[in-house]
Symmetry: C2
Subunit: 197 residues, 2 copies
DNA sequence: CTGACCATGTAACCCGTTACATGATTCT
DNA sequence: AGAATCATGTAACGGGTTACATGGTCAG
């Protein structure tokens, strides 16, 4: 049900081909919290068309396979709204990195350093993607909800990077097997103003 | 491969039954970034035993089905280390909530408010779980890597709640369809010191 | 007595990924 | 020349969830 939802949501912002939807999902506005491969998108679009939630027109281009441009229908819009208003499965976060971090003592300093480096690098990469996207759409007459979402993602990633940089030393010490007990117990958060609750 | 890894990681902290592993995955230390159901755990444990990565002993209890307590073997420990050191698929975040948020204009204020409330509530709930867990293990001779991971999760959730509370008004305004152009463009982050990069 | 918790397991199903199949065009 | 981008699609496979099957204990 998730790829369906994603396709409808994207088409509600404008017509697109399966190829374009995949690109958006992988590196566009939605890439922070969604992803999908061709193998799921193409069948989903075909089914949505069969059900009348989207329509398709073929744009022939010499040499290349014809582009199949999909448009959402009113029925599709209604169905999307229903999905968005009714069922909201909770967010999901899966982190192999944290599993490694929690096993720091066993894994050792070298692997931990590599894992942290990778983690920061990946986060930086996504952050940059989103930042570019943002600068490209800011002040255009584009959907302001999307801008809000992008800002949310950017904030999360900045915070994440900051936390990792501020606290990596402690984790590395654990991984290196320092016998001491002088850990900065609360793991001194990057910043701690009032922050909720 | 993920449930295998999870089972081994948990067993490396101490013996456990399938039931206990599931509980930990759902509401324990690992629950912030992992999850698994019986339907995947029991078969995984059986297979791990067949492969010699864990051993099992049955503890009979009158009336109840015998507890099957699993222990990790040295081979299992080695295999776990290999997994943790070598392959590290990137973290995954999936957020139906953000899809709704990005569709704010279509979805409308009422639904947005509900979605935000739910999101905050769920995050608060998880935060409380982790906080309790933390206070229960702090200063015990327990794995300090795990404590680090818990602190990481706690920080992320506090920050998330703070961001949602600070910026919900803006999203609600978008959803309510205010025609104005006086948005707090940068969506005033809860705090913005230097923060990385 | 009802619901939550303990405790195990299987089978059907779902949703998605990976790999394959095909092929032109444009950038380096 | 080789890689990347455009462009569609299918089939095999995988990993997990949900629902089912079973049943005792304990607290409210």
């Amino acid at each position: 049900m998730s790829v369906r939802r994603l396709c409808l949501a994207m088409l509600s912002e404008g017509d697109a081909t399966g190829y374009e939807i995949r690109k958006e999902a992988t590196s566009g506005c939605f890439s922070y919290f969604e992803d999908a491969s061709y193998g799921s998108i193409y069948p989903a679009l075909a089914k949505l068309e069969k059900e009348g939630l989207v329509t398709m027109r073929e744009e022939k281009q010499p040499g290349k396979p014809a582009r199949k441009v999909y448009s959402i229908t009113q029925t599709g819009r209604d169905a999307l709204l229903d999905m968005l208003r009714e069922d909201l499965p909770p967010d999901i976060y899966r982190s192999p990195f944290l599993l490694v971090a929690m096993s720091a003592e066993q894994v050792g300093g070298k692997a931990i350093r590599r894992a942290i480096d990778l983690q920061i690098e990946q986060t930086r990469h996504k952050l940059q993607q989103l930042s570019e996207l943002k600068s490209r759409i800011t002040d255009k007459p584009l959907n302001r909800g999307i801008l809000w979402g992008i800002n949310y993602g950017i904030d999360c990633m900045i915070q994440k990077i900051g936390y990792l940089e501020a606290n990596r030393a402690e984790l590395e010490a654990i991984a290196d097997g320092d016998g001491n007990g002088s850990q900065p117990q609360a793991a001194a958060p990057v910043q701690t103003p009032q922050a909720a609750e």
